[in-house]
């Protein structure tokens, strides 16, 4: 595999992953008894193509699995018998191929034995693998699987462009927009513009708008890039819990920000798991309740204004009457259910882990500037609605001023603007009648923990709707709506709760963009004490050594999210200094190729050092050949992972294994 450009390997992984998704879906159809000759033919074609590519690129285990799969399928096709039992061993084979294309080299003997056994059980008896091989040229389908023949619906040309280039384009488009705004701002102070200048400015604005829309469109991808594997997930969950579930996906062509899609799988899987494990009842219970024996689970997505609604709906038990009672008139279901640790299940099952964790999903949506809603009736099922922004980087915000600071609130969360006067107070909570409903009124400064002089009478108030709650937030002045580029506050301020980021306004001032959920959640406690707060008992500290900023920050975020304190170094020399200085470093995760001192040399230097020679070292690199791996291990590395197939679970599992947390 060394002779091939990593680009090819990446292409192979992409393509094979897609084919495996399609195979899984076809196998699920066979398993539920509604597939015929056509499905088996498609499966056969996929297996055959995977076999060819895997063989060429040296993925021998994948090739062997695809080959065995092909043999079973050939036998099934020849016998024209599509019994549902045939699906299980083939699904195990696709799972094993999936693992092996990622390069983790899991043993495949068991899976191959299963396949051979299932083949032996088919009419025609056990054949030697060679028979299958010999017959395959004959059975290659007529409509060849050549690239282009199937991959190009319509005649669009597709370019593979690195994601960071698109991000940069969007950044630049955003910067130009702001630049233009600043220009308009300065020109605004001058007297009448000549009609020519005004025309040119108008034309420029339209073209910029077009550029921005195109850049945003390049940054978004359809939801289906992450839904293809979900039918399989649901099927496995249903099988493990003995449930009968029919799963459907609609609106998979809805576009979402690439960054959101990258992180959406986990919360989505979590919601599906909740629905299967806790929502949908066992068959007998459903029949008793007069429901169809088969549970229905639906994932659907559709745009809702500047947001996208992703809904996980089931027709299971729904919430208990207690929850409805607790929510009462004032609280939303989402609020009750997303309370940390709240669970709709009476017993905790292994499958869903501890607690149902709707709080984590809500926190996820809020951190993106989105929201979580829940609709449910006892006995009638439940809908969990994730509201997500269409594009992360650009946001329409209402700009307000309070105590000298400038803040932005997503327009999507603003219902209306009111003048706050004639409020009533009950139990220290000020309230205002807005369209016949009494809404709590809170000072923006109090919500954020800012110090500010008291508000004047008749101050403006924004009616915010978020998390199923509505509230009025008061400020000094409203400065108007703007479309802004939201930038992260960076690692030093990332832990301050309540902000989505910050934006530079036309006049050069910085507006802090506030999470809408923060504004409906009541006042915040005063900021923490001045003395540094000691960290809780330390998890082992990890040193990440990597010259690429993106990779470094990615690894840092993965490890920090798992609770490890992380320090970083840009090359081997910085790493050695850090190790000398910081006795708490318990593990090193390093790249191979770096300026000054590379990963192999760093590993050797650590092994040769006196006091820290036993420090565990994990090499994470884009070099995946066996030779490279051997060199890494010989240098004294404890583990060796390939970046192309980089999987955060793998990294965490490896780290955990080495530092025994």
């Amino acid at each position: 595999m060394t002779g091939f450009d990593t680009e090819f390997i990446e292409l192979f992984r992409d393509e094979t992953a897609r084919r495996l998704d399609q195979m899984d879906n076809l196998l699920l159809e066979i398993e539920s008894g509604d597939a015929g000759a056509e499905g088996v033919n498609s499966l056969f074609r996929h297996a055959h193509t995977i076999k060819g590519a895997a063989g060429m690129l040296g993925f021998d285990d994948v090739r062997a699995l695809a080959h065995a799969t092909e043999d079973v399928l050939a036998r099934v096709r020849d016998a024209s018998e599509f019994s549902p039992e045939i699906a299980a061993p083939l699904l195990r084979a696709t799972a094993a191929m999936r693992v092996n294309i990622a390069g983790s080299g899991q043993p495949i003997d068991d899976v191959l034995a299963d396949l051979a056994a299932s083949q032996a059980g088919l009419p025609g008896g056990a054949g030697s693998p060679e028979t299958g091989e010999a017959s395959s040229p004959v059975t290659v389908p007529r409509q060849a699987d050549a690239p282009g023949a199937r991959q190009a619906p319509g005649s669009q040309t597709t370019l593979r462009v690195p994601a960071d280039k698109i991000d940069h384009l969007l950044d630049v488009a955003g910067e130009i927009l702001q630049h233009r705004r600043r220009l308009a701002h300065s020109l605004g102070h001058q007297a009448q513009l000549s009609p020519d200048v005004a025309d040119l400015l108008g034309l420029g604005e339209r073209m910029l708008g077009d550029l921005k829309d195109t850049a945003v469109a390049m940054r978004t991808l359809p939801l289906e890039v992450i839904t293809a594997g979900l039918p399989r997930v649901v099927r496995d969950l249903a099988r493990d819990t003995g449930k009968d579930v029919e799963f459907s996906v609609s609106g998979a062509d809805t576009e979402l920000d690439r960054l959101i899609l990258e992180s959406l799988s986990e919360p989505l899987t979590h919601l599906l798991r909740n629905a299967v494990v806790h929502g949908i009842e066992p068959r007998a219970e459903r029949e008793q309740a007069g429901k169809p024996p088969r549970g229905r689970l639906e994932l659907r997505a559709e745009p809702r204004g500047s947001l996208v609604e992703v809904v996980v709906a089931d027709d299971g038990r729904g919430v208990s009457p207690d929850v409805i009672a607790e929510a009462g008139r004032d609280k939303s279901l989402a609020e009750v259910l997303a309370r940390p640790g709240f669970s709709t299940a009476t017993e905790v099952t292994d499958l869903a882990g501890r607690g149902v964790g709707l709080d984590a999903v809500k926190a996820y949506a809020n951190s993106l500037g989105g929201d979580l809603e829940v609709r449910s009736e006892p006995g009638q099922g439940m809908e969990v609605i994730l509201l997500l922004p269409l594009a992360l980087a650009l946001a329409e915000v209402l700009i307000v001023e309070r105590g000298g600071g400038v803040f932005g609130v997503a327009l999507a969360a603003v219902e209306e603007v009111v003048t706050v006067t004639g409020t009533t107070t009950l139990q220290n909570q000020e309230a205002l009648q807005v369209r016949g409903r009494s809404l709590p009124v809170t000072d923006l400064a109090a919500l954020l923990g800012a110090t500010a002089p008291p508000l004047s009478d008749r101050s403006p108030g924004i009616v915010i709707s978020s998390g199923g709650r509505r509230a009025v937030v008061t400020c000094d002045t409203l400065l108007g709506a703007e479309e802004v580029v939201v930038k992260p506050l960076g690692p030093l301020l990332a832990r301050v709760p309540g902000y989505l980021g910050a934006s530079i306004l036309g006049d050069g001032r910085i507006a802090l963009v506030v999470e809408p959920a923060t504004l409906t959640g009541g006042p915040r406690r005063a900021p923490g004490p001045v003395a540094p707060v000691p960290e809780p008992p330390a998890a082992p500290k990890v040193l990440v050594v990597e010259d690429s900023f993106t990779v470094r920050e990615l690894q840092r975020s993965i490890l920090e999210a798992a609770g490890y304190p992380v320090v970083t170094a840009r090359d081997g020399q910085e790493a050695l200094q850090a190790i000398d200085r910081d006795a708490d470093i318990a593990l090193v995760v390093t790249d191979l190729e770096m300026p000054r001192l590379g990963g192999l040399e760093l590993t050797r230097a650590i092994r040769a050092s006196g006091a820290r020679s036993s420090l565990p070292v994990v090499i994470v690199t884009s070099h995946g050949s066996d030779d490279d791996r051997r060199l890494g291990i010989e240098a004294g590395a404890d583990a060796y992972m390939v970046k192309r197939s980089f999987d955060q679970q793998d990294l965490l599992a490896t780290v955990e294994q080495l530092v025994g947390r």
Partner: protein, 134 residues
């Protein structure tokens, strides 16, 4: 011999290796981020980029008599931040460092121009700021 940027924080003498310093400029307009720790003064617009700004005085355990005037743009391990200081007094070498210090955030001290000068360990300062809760 390494070169140091020499500076004053709450009237005391400090220095940091120049390799960590990108730029020095006026403190300018810093927007507070409500809810952040007191060490974090807020954010500042630096040529269209949003730069987090910390005050070195509370980090080093010092109380300020006068507000800071200058901002150091420092970088360590891919992390960038602005640090408010009283003033920058020059660039130069230091006599050999004594490594015993009372603060975790110092890599040593040196006796220069009749004053004890603390040499700030920038990677540690960044680590401390990142590790702190809001």
């Amino acid at each position: 011999m390494p070169t140091y940027l020499r500076l004053r924080v709450a009237a005391e003498a400090y220095a940091m290796p120049v390799e960590f310093v990108r730029e020095v400029f006026e403190l300018g307009r810093v927007e507070a981020v409500p809810g952040a720790r007191p060490e974090m003064l807020g954010v500042r617009n630096v040529r269209g980029q949003i730069l987090p700004v910390a005050d070195l005085a509370p980090l080093l355990g010092l109380a300020r008599a006068v507000p800071p005037g200058r901002l150091l743009l420092a970088e360590a391990g891919g992390r960038q931040a602005g640090f408010a200081v009283d003033e920058v007094s020059g660039v130069g070498e230091l006599p050999e460092l004594a490594e015993e210090t009372q603060s975790d955030l110092l890599m040593g001290t040196a006796f220069a121009d009749g004053e004890l000068t603390g040499v700030i360990d920038m990677p540690r300062v960044f680590d401390a700021l990142e590790g702190m809760r809001p």
